[in-house]
């Protein structure tokens, strides 16, 4: 049997994303070598700073696969951070209890949103917009100022946040004093990667994962083929909110503070990352590997702009938006070409 493996346009999009990341990083290394951009640690810092976002984007990808969207994630992260910090500083709760509480809240939040989207068939944008309002408001209800957590408040949490995992020594580099600086990552990165791998496996190897794709591909067909579309949609939102809560905990470990204005616009970062990573907003196409590289691209853009020092920080937003624009148009063009070919 002579079947030629055709490269479909969606795979091409993911490859473009990965190639773009590599090229962007290489150029960065070339231009800003003197500023230490080429250091392994710079790369690892992108991972450390975006561990939370990686989790959130994984959840976002799952919702987007069904053709939905979840714009509540940024506010939910703010609420999580605030609750974590407030709980540990004011209520003197233990770190483990607070983490469990946050995860349970995530599940409930997702279940309510999912019920409204799946069973009451309300547009996901509207439902999660309300969720966004609600979570942001609740953040202020918990505490309207900015609070931080210190070692004295909760040593366990402080220890989690500050523990380093060193990479093998040969990756290290001698600094000016001839001392070897060993590159490190934080535990948050490990958790983010675990989430990434688990979601990747879930999407590929479980029935639920494939149902997400089927519902996004053609909801009518999925119903006809006997899938429970409503339940699938609801669970996608539960998953998204749960991953968002995990992301919120990681985010908090990074910032160690809570404030009302935290993580504003993070939902758009997550959506942009997923889209740049090849997830179609119409649903049915995408995977978390692409989304991971999407996060890395947006992260790299920020670091590049910061490293330059002279550029205004808003260039990072503009560059992300421009990339988003290019990828959306590419997707649209591919879809039009495909429609024409099938006609």
């Amino acid at each position: 049997m002579k079947t030629k493996r055709k490269l479909d346009s969606n795979t091409v999009l993911v490859f473009i994303t990965i190639a773009l990341f590599v090229v962007m990083y290489a150029i960065g290394c070339g231009i800003y070598q003197d500023k230490g951009f080429g250091n392994l640690q710079t790369f690892l810092n992108i991972l450390i700073n975006n561990a939370g976002l990686i989790c959130v984007t994984c959840g976002m990808t799952c919702v987007m696969l069904t053709g939905g969207i979840d714009i509540s994630v940024g506010s939910v992260i703010a609420m999580d951070c605030m609750l974590l910090v407030y709980g540990m500083t004011e209520w003197k709760m233990g770190a483990v209890q607070m983490v469990i509480l946050i995860l349970v809240i995530g599940l409930i939040f997702g279940a309510v949103q999912g019920f409204l989207v799946g069973y009451l068939e309300i547009q996901p944008f509207i439902v999660t917009m309300a969720g966004m309002f609600f979570a942001r408001g609740m953040t202020a209800v918990i505490c309207s100022g900015q609070i931080s957590i210190t070692e004295a408040d909760n040593p366990t949490f402080y220890a989690w946040a500050n523990s380093k995992i060193n990479l093998p020594e040969f990756l290290g580099k001698a600094n000016r004093h001839g001392k070897i600086v060993v590159p490190y990552i934080r535990p948050t990165v490990i958790i983010a990667f675990l989430v990434l791998i688990l979601i990747f496996l879930m999407l590929k190897y479980t029935k639920f994962g494939r149902n997400l794709y089927a519902v996004g591909g053609n909801q009518m067909s999925a119903t006809m083929m006997g899938l429970n579309v409503k339940k699938t949609k609801m669970l996608s939102h539960v998953l998204s909110s749960l991953l968002c809560s995990i992301g919120g905990i990681l985010y908090c470990l990074n910032t160690m503070s809570g404030s009302v204005n935290q993580a504003t616009g993070l939902e758009m970062d997550a959506i942009a990352s997923a889209v740049i990573g090849g997830t179609l907003l119409t649903g049915g196409v995408g995977n978390v590997i692409g989304s991971f590289f999407g996060v890395m691209i947006t992260g790299t853009i920020t670091v590049l702009v910061n490293t330059n020092g002279k550029l205004l920080s808003s260039w990072a937003n503009i560059a992300t938006a421009a990339l988003l624009c290019i990828f959306i148009i590419l997707q649209s063009v591919f879809a039009l070409v495909k429609a024409r070919r099938n006609k």
């Binding site: 002579k2 479909d8 006997g226």
Partner: protein
């Protein structure tokens, strides 16, 4: 119940607002039988199938399925599937973004011992199925990479692989080429040998004679007869589908073509639209009523859509009143004096939530341009005039059009075109799905406009009687191409022979 009978449907009735889709329809399917279900558009074929598969509920009647005691009512496709009734629809109901193998197995994926999807087994099994159909495709890539024909074959393979007792194929062949149709027929014959009963809905006569054993014909939602293929010559079948019995419409008599002048209004040469209609020629004179005939899917609608610019012509030349015209958008056609009453009233005609008045003045407003708004008083005047003239039954001119019955909706759309004073009006199935009285009115109106106003009219209908009464000549369409033209002394027999073509 007879041992051999798989399904009996008795006195099935089903009404939709304004239309009786099924009226005491009958259907029986036996073991190891390929049973063609035939009838023109609106005859009730798909309604009957949707009632059987649980997409619609039935108003009256009984369904019996072998192996189930008592009358059966399916509430969903899934329930029907559990009773062994699998369906393949005309529009492919698969997920294009999943791989071929997944589409074959979704909902019943093979699992590994730890409960994850066993891709290796799934792909292997899928490959066996696909090889059995002699399709040379890669089951591990997304379905959307393959043509509609292959997607259709996969849909059939999925249904076949689910161990069904009854397989319903609803116009599956419209996107298949000859070779693929042959493969499908082989599968159908294999299943027949295994005792599966197959309901085959198609409008290709050749295919019926090649593969089917029995034919049930529906007409206007009623059961017209069940025949064995051997004793049913082609022309007789067409007659059964289109109906021969005269009704009270006989009173309309054709006056001859005395009022037809020699001025050619529309002259098209070699127009075509890729994928829908092969190059064709068309000519119509002032005051003439021309028919376009052919079975459903023969390209009759596609031809007029191409002239009107609803599907932009990709080749050829169009002259209107002797002047060359390049129609890019329907608006260009309207400005050139054309009007088009589309066959799909719901999708292309009515603007659902808008009032009767707004629906009537829409095209005239578009012709005038956005900034020349028709004053409210003038709008009311126009609306009232046509409601009165066409006797549109509506509570008021401000009633939303979707609250009207089918026939009255159709009249509103007709009024939409009449108020633009077109020189050339296309009526694509104006009488489908409306009651007999309104049908007569439409035919009378078409003749009146041609005679009194010198309008040139294209009249398309699946009922030959109507066409004979209204048209002076007809273009004959078959399989997406124009195959001839008939004029002069036309009879039902001559028209049917032309439509059926080939064979006997």
């Amino acid at each position: 119940m007879d041992e051999n009978i798989l399904i009996t449907m008795r006195d099935i009735s089903k009404s939709f607002p304004g239309v009786k889709a099924l009226d005491h329809a009958q259907f029986t399917l036996r073991k190891g039988e390929i049973h063609a279900l035939m009838g023109e558009n609106g005859a009730g074929k798909s309604t009957l199938i949707k009632v059987l598969t649980g997409v619609y509920s039935l108003d009256a009647g009984e369904i019996h399925v072998a192996g189930v005691d008592g009358p059966v009512i399916n509430h969903s496709t899934l329930e029907a599937q559990e009773k062994g009734i699998a369906t393949v629809y005309q529009e492919v109901n698969l997920c294009p973004n999943l791989t071929v193998a997944e589409n074959l197995f979704i909902g019943r994926e093979p699992k590994t011992p730890i409960g994850t999807i066993d891709w290796r087994t799934m792909n292997k099994k899928a490959k066996e199925i696909v090889d059995g159909l002699e399709l040379k495709i890669d089951v591990t890539i997304a379905l959307e990479n393959y043509s509609l024909a292959i997607q259709q074959m996969i849909a059939i393979a999925r249904a076949v692989d689910m161990d069904c007792k009854v397989l319903i194929l609803d116009e599956p062949t419209s996107s298949l080429d000859d070779n693929e149709v042959e493969k499908l027929f082989k599968v159908m014959r294999d299943l027949k040998a295994k005792g599966v009963g197959i309901i085959f809905v198609t409008h290709f006569l050749e295919q019926v004679y090649e593969v089917c054993d029995t034919i049930t014909v529906l007409r206007n939602g009623e059961f017209a007869g069940e025949y064995s293929v051997e004793e049913m010559p082609r022309v007789k079948l067409v007659a059964a589908m289109l109906g021969k019995d005269f009704d009270d419409l006989a009173s309309i008599k054709k006056e001859g073509a005395s009022h037809v002048s020699d001025d050619v209004v529309v002259d098209a040469t070699n127009l075509s639209h890729k994928g829908t209609i092969k190059p064709f020629d068309f000519q119509i004179k002032k005051g003439e009523v021309v028919g376009v005939t052919g079975l459903l899917g023969s390209g009759r609608s596609e031809m007029v859509r191409c002239i009107y610019g609803a599907d932009k012509a990709q080749t050829g030349e169009l002259k209107v009143n002797g002047k060359k015209l390049n129609i890019k958008e329907p608006l260009d056609a309207i400005k050139a004096g054309m009007g088009y009453l589309p066959d799909d009233r719901k999708a292309d005609g009515c603007i659902g939530d808008l009032s009767v008045r707004e629906n009537i003045i829409l095209a005239l407003q578009a012709k005038n341009g956005m900034f020349k708004k028709i004053p409210a008083s003038k709008q009311n005047e126009i609306a009232d005039k046509f409601i009165d003239m066409l006797q549109i039954k509506t509570a008021s001119r401000e009633t939303p059009i979707n609250q009207l019955s089918g026939g009255n909706q159709q009249k509103v759309i007709l009024a939409r075109w009449l108020c633009t004073h077109p020189d050339f009006l296309i009526l694509d199935e104006p009488t489908r799905g409306i009651d007999i009285g309104t049908k007569t009115e439409f035919q009378k109106l078409a003749l009146k406009f041609a005679e009194e106003d010198g309008m040139s009219i294209v009249f398309i209908s699946s009922e030959i009687e109507e066409m004979l009464r209204t048209c002076t000549r007809m273009y004959v369409m078959r399989d997406g191409a124009q195959v001839g033209e008939i004029s002069g002394e036309m009879t039902q027999e001559s028209v049917m022979a032309a439509i059926a073509g080939g064979g006997e």
